[in-house]
Symmetry: C2
Subunit: 103 residues, 2 copies
DNA sequence: TATATATGCAACATAATAGTTGCATATCGA
DNA sequence: TCGATATGCAACTATTATGTTGCATATATA
């Protein structure tokens, strides 16, 4: 999963709220998850598919229900990406500092 | 800045590449930044405006140039968001573990 | 076995996004 | 000063994303 895809999936209000709900209240069925949100079941289903494609959630069919659960490693790619960029940032600042001091 | 806005800004290939370039090579002018990317200057400018609105970069007019630099705290909101969600996740797992053990 | 519940898929309408072209403006340097 | 360079803004187009309605299917449960 690429960082772009992860960020894109999280960069939509309805989807991010779904992720927060799952984080707060744990796994639940598709129907219970979108209730209270101003969207139809089919609309919610599309968002869940996008989150599943991005490996943020897992959709588990269970009889007539579909259980939605957060993927344990949902944010790993994002965390790594950010850490890598911040490391480079720091290294450049360090190099700049050394350069200035040597003058 | 909200997490949604941050993730949305980062969830686009051209913008994410711009952020990576800034991280790798440091601050540079608008023109040097988009060169080599398959996009016009005006197209690039739109993306930079979005990144600036999201407080990921800072646009500094300097004579006829515009210096683009990464904001030092660009990812803070995102890191906090992820940390908060993962903490909740862990707490729920802990509670579940305790519940099961007591049975 | 009916009936209610939970879901999936496809088609469509609308809104948002990405990217372009065209034109205007400002600044640097010979 | 004059040409080259660097930029900004507005209008337009094409593509993508969001969200809906409608219909079909599967599974609980009374």
């Amino acid at each position: 999963m690429s960082p772009v895809e992860l960020f894109k999936a999280l960069g939509e209000p309805t989807r991010l709220e779904m992720v927060e709900r799952l984080s707060n209240y744990g796994s639940q069925t598709l129907t219970s998850l979108f209730k209270g949100m101003h969207i139809t079941r089919q609309g919610a289903r599309k968002h869940l598919q996008i989150l599943a494609d991005s490996k943020i959630i897992i959709l588990l069919p269970d009889g007539r229900n579909t259980i939605v659960q957060l993927d344990q490693h949902a944010f790993d790619v994002g965390k790594k990406f950010i850490a890598k960029l911040e490391l480079r940032w720091d290294k450049r600042l360090e190099a700049l500092k050394n350069f200035v001091e040597k003058k």
